[in-house]
Symmetry: C2
DNA sequence: CGTAGATTTGAAGCTCCTCAACATAAGTGG
DNA sequence: CCACTTATGTTGAGGAGCTTCAAATCTACG
């Protein structure tokens, strides 16, 4: 497990240093991934949230469907992400999750999550930290949507994605694969797919990014960061040492 | 403490039934509130998040300041709310919090919060539930902002506020006091204060709400809920029984 | 009572949306 | 492998919604 480190482990590692025992408990979480095809749903609104998922390969997202039929994407999941944390605290899901590409997912029943958290305080803490990080992502997107126009919103999204992919070594420098349709980018940022298209072209025209097929190449990260006000990376920040359980302490 | 129940206790009660011991531990959290004038800051960006706060009286909010000087309000706090939970997981704050009215706040050092959580699993759980509820609020606002126009956004905000105030018995029916300036409503919903003004007038014209001074009177909650797609109240939903610690269990 | 702050109103302009047609890419079965 | 089909992206035109600026009220408060 240490030799061939999973994306999940690499993700958690950024938050909390785990003991060997914790690491092997954690390894359980994505020990038995199964292949899930593009478009298949991981969970659905109003169904009980009885599993925690880890995404080993591929992309997924969670979304909300309004009464009028419009949809808004809430979370974007990349390899190494834990999925379903937001809803786990509650009895029912309030979102639906779907695979954006074919990928590998492992599902973990909530009872065993509960057990896991009882066994290891540090692992409990790691899950909380992961949840907190996802909340910061959402908060950042709210800030982005509240304050920026179309060009800045898209610039911000691209930088966020690059940053998250680099974290699990899934982006090669300034280039990465982005399986999102323009309609889906619109659902993330609250704009029409037509305007997403125009804005992407505008960004190309300005020499800020290039795209061929689904590959994105950020040509001028500096300028993009300026436009998008992407100076801080709050979800990468240090955890509160006061709340961190001592090393090796078990419940 | 049981006879004269605090707003905080009433808030937590909705999530978790606490034992007598837990309740008195909880009572500590807002035992010694101090008076804080309107406009005073509770915490600031990039400062260590070393306290948890409870709002006993008055209104507050947290906001983000962009590089270009624009501001976005992230959380709106009403009496009974716990403040600073979002940032507590991390070492530093990423938002600034300020009193919207003069009020009463009690601050609780993070070391003692940590102690509290170690002492009582149910209280730990209650705090997590409270954090999860605040995350759902933010997520709902993101959905609101992503999908709705000005009229719906404001309708949604009014319903959210009414709902949260009713929860702590601070709203009398369809009427409540709303200390937000129109500029601040704009900062919450991503619109200019001029347009907030026009939209509020439009809502009055349609007979959906009335306002005199800072008092809001919702005239047609049904219609507002339809406009705002405010059918579900996800932050009021039931907690996951699988994760709920058994009664009386201590660490 | 006067002043600073908040709200309202008007006008002009810009961003973004909608609708629709077209172009290109991706997927499918012969 | 190609024609067919379907999905996705691009382009244009017109219009709705919102912003900005500025001036005119209104309100709060020392």
């Amino acid at each position: 497990m240490l030799s061939q480190e999973s994306h999940l482990a690499r993700n958690i590692d950024r938050h909390v240093t785990l003991s060997g025992g914790d690491a092997s408990l954690l390894a359980e979480l994505d020990a038995h991934p199964r292949r899930v095809p593009r478009g298949s749903e991981l969970w659905q609104t109003q169904r009980p949230s009885d599993h925690l998922y880890t995404l080993c390969r591929g992309w997924a997202c969670s979304y909300h469907r309004s009464a009028n039929g419009s949809q808004q994407i809430l979370d974007l999941f990349v390899p190494g992400d834990i999925m379903g944390l937001r809803d786990l605290t509650y009895h029912d899901h309030t979102s639906t999750a779907v695979m954006l590409t074919t990928g590998q997912v492992s599902a973990y029943p909530v009872e065993r999550v509960s057990e896991l958290m009882r066994c290891s305080r540090r692992l409990d803490w790691a899950l909380q930290a992961s949840a907190a990080r996802q909340e910061r992502l959402i908060t950042q997107r709210l800030i982005n949507v509240l304050s920026h126009d179309a060009v800045s919103r898209i610039a911000h999204l691209m930088l966020e994605v690059q940053h998250r992919l680099q974290r699990v070594d899934a982006a090669s420098g300034d280039q990465f694969y982005l399986p999102l349709l323009q309609r889906q980018i619109g659902m993330l940022l609250g704009m029409s797919s037509v305007h997403v298209s125009r804005t992407l072209i505008e960004l190309s025209r300005r020499g800020l990014l290039e795209r061929s097929r689904r590959r994105i190449h950020l040509l001028d990260v500096e300028a993009l960061a300026r436009i998008a006000d992407f100076t801080t990376f709050p979800y990468e920040a240090g955890l509160n040492p006061e709340l961190l359980p001592e090393d090796g302490m078990q419940r």
